[in-house]
Amino acid sequence: MDQHQPTWTYRRLVNAQKLLCALLCCVFCAIAANAQDASRKRPLRWGADPSGGAPYVFTDPANPDRYIGYEKEMVDALAAAMGRTPEFVPSDWETLVSALQRNSFDIIVNGLEPTGDRARQILFSNPYYIFQLQLTVRQDDSRISSLADCKNRVVATLGNTAASRLLQQEGIPFRSYQDPVGAYRDLELKRIDAVLMDVPAEAFYARPNPKLKPAGAPFTRGLYVIGLRKGDDALKAEVDQAIDKIIRDGTLETILKKWGLWNDAQVEFQAPIRAGDQATANVEYTTTNAPFNWGEALWRLTRAAGVTVFIALGSMVIAVLLGLPLAVGQWKGQAWLRALCTIYVEFFRGTPVLVQLLFLYFGLPVIGIAMPGWLTALVGLGLNYAAYESQVYRAALEAIPHGQWEAAYSLGMSPTLAFRRIILPQAFRIALPPMTNDFVSLFKDTSVAFAISVWELATAYRELANASGQFLLLGLAVSAYYLIMSLPMAHLARLLERRLSNRSTERMIEAEPAEVGA
């Protein structure tokens, strides 16, 4: 037993060592395997705009917590071919490129067209789809049968697309929309004359609508590619390979057929790739390559600034004219009038102005009131600011000492005369600084008109900057415009205030009894 003891111990020790080695091995293997796994299974983060994004990628109406679309299915197939899991990052069409550069996702898959100015900012994969453009008009419209008939009409399209560039090149007045739904709705409401859109979107949104019809056949051909960050060449190679694979094995054809997007153009495009000929992969992009024109951009900004000034001034007039009766109604009116005014004020102050504009623009047409965008913005902001102005006036009116009324009455003035000649002029002085303040912020608030496709300064900035990538320079230019507009206003108001206060009325109100007999 005595001899056995050490041997046994020794063996046990050796065994333990072996066990430890084996364990360590296992751990290393596991780590190594994990690392390999991680690189293989790193998610493929892709960005696209799902709002109004059918049939590319959009919210499933039957199942609102998931996304569907032919590009969604295509990305699933691509990711499978790459051995990765797809991860969708909902984003915004106009800012897709900058979001990609900010690393919000790794690739853009959203019917992206390769253009010259995008090529300066990002990498393109090989193309995966040939799109065409389709012009749509109202069913009863016989004036327009092709783009040539649109020289003096307003055509709508999505901002920063091949279609918008084409319209710009042809010198056709156009309005940019955030999504096809709004564009086709405004066409129905006669706010615009025609819509030019990529065929996939046109096929989904316009063709089933009995009030609309295609004008002429689809025309021009362009490419859809996947966008990647500059320098991400490894991923580009991986993506190109995957595109090649899903074209060759017919997966893409199946998806496109399922969505009704398979056509002659796709057959012609896929044939050489399936035959193993890579030559067509390096396609030139021609129709959509318009260089950024600074002169024209500044001219468009200037016009947009004009629209901003017009909307701001117009809505201020409404706000001032409507604010005063609201203030007086709330201040001196009978109970029912006071309640009515209070409801108005609380409604317009308590709900976001953006929602109010959307309501006026999209909601009112339901009951037959379809105003153009600029008028909607003007009226909407006017109604909204009237609520704020009324509170400014009410505070100012209430600040006038009661003695002023009594003095006016005792001189035989009627309430109306006393109000007009004695109370109002004094209240105006008190209200002037907050009014100036509101007017300056109204100037800035005109930017919400962007939501209803009004081409004002903020919309212009967004579109031009997205088209050119010149966020910094254009941003400075736009800020300069806003300042040029608001600074003279503030200056003017200060001058007026100073002129009024030269009459040193404040001193009197404050020092009334104390100075007596001084």
Partner: protein, 246 residues
């Protein structure tokens, strides 16, 4: 002739004026005295229609305001009454956004429809008579209290009232300014004006009023010629008040 009879005024449950009657002969000054809360100011506010009366009548130069008439009728008569009665408030209530001249011509031009030129000429004469000939273009905020009071007097007189009411005109005047105000008011009486002046200062009333009325608890306690009321009051309450004053 100015005549008040049986005037009553209630605020909720408390009656402030409990049946006031008096007369003011033309071209005379009636001084009203009384402790705080005796109802003097309410009486004044009833006389220019700023308070609605509950009972009694106020007659002034042919306008007769009485309680218990229709609302519309009452309002019409209040307007007429205000054209007959001018008021100089204790704190003047000048219009701060208007120049001195603007303050004076505002009501003649917009209420009486006097042509602006005529109103201005008259306003400048009034300013001269209150000793502020050079102040026409100044604004109330730049005037002293005494100057503001003179503008307020000129503003009220520009409407040619049959009766001028002055609420505590001496409350913040030093003795020298009190004397000059007394002289000023007397010149206007000599020119034909009739006045009611509320004041705590017996010295002031003694020199300006023809008659004095003493109020307490919403009632007239004593009313008579100035000399008699101030120097040999008949009612013990008046005597008591006078002994404690000045």
């Amino acid at each position: 002739m100015i005549r008040v009879s049986g005037l009553r005024k209630r605020f909720g449950a408390s009656e402030i004026l409990k049946g006031i009657s008096f007369e003011v002969p033309p071209q005379t000054v009636l001084g009203i005295m009384g402790a705080s809360g005796s109802g003097k100011s309410t009486l004044l506010r009833c006389m220019n229609g700023l308070e609605t009366i509950n009972d009694g009548t106020i007659e002034c130069d042919g306008v007769r305001l009485e309680a218990k008439i229709s609302h519309a009728d009452y309002r019409r008569r209040v307007r007429d009454l205000r054209l007959k009665v001018g008021t100089v408030f204790q704190h003047f209530h000048l219009f701060p956004h208007l120049s001195v001249l603007g303050n004076i011509i505002e009501a003649p031009v917009h209420v009486l429809r006097t042509p602006k030129k005529n109103a201005e000429t008259e306003a400048l004469q009034l300013l001269e008579s209150v000793g502020l000939a050079g102040a026409a273009r100044r604004y109330p905020g730049s005037l002293s209290g005494g100057e503001q009071q003179r503008v307020a007097i000129a503003r009220a007189l520009a409407m040619h009232p049959a009766l001028l009411l002055l609420d505590e005109p001496t409350s913040a005047l030093d003795p020298r300014r009190m004397n000059s105000l007394r002289a000023l008011l007397r010149t206007f009486v000599d020119r034909g004006h009739t006045m009611i002046i509320i004041s705590h200062s017996m010295g002031f009333l003694g020199g300006v009023a023809d008659n004095v009325l003493f109020m307490e608890g919403g009632l007239v306690v004593e009313h008579g010629p100035t000399d008699q009321v101030l120097n040999s009051p008949r009612d013990p309450r008046t005597k008591d008040f006078l002994e404690q004053a000045d």
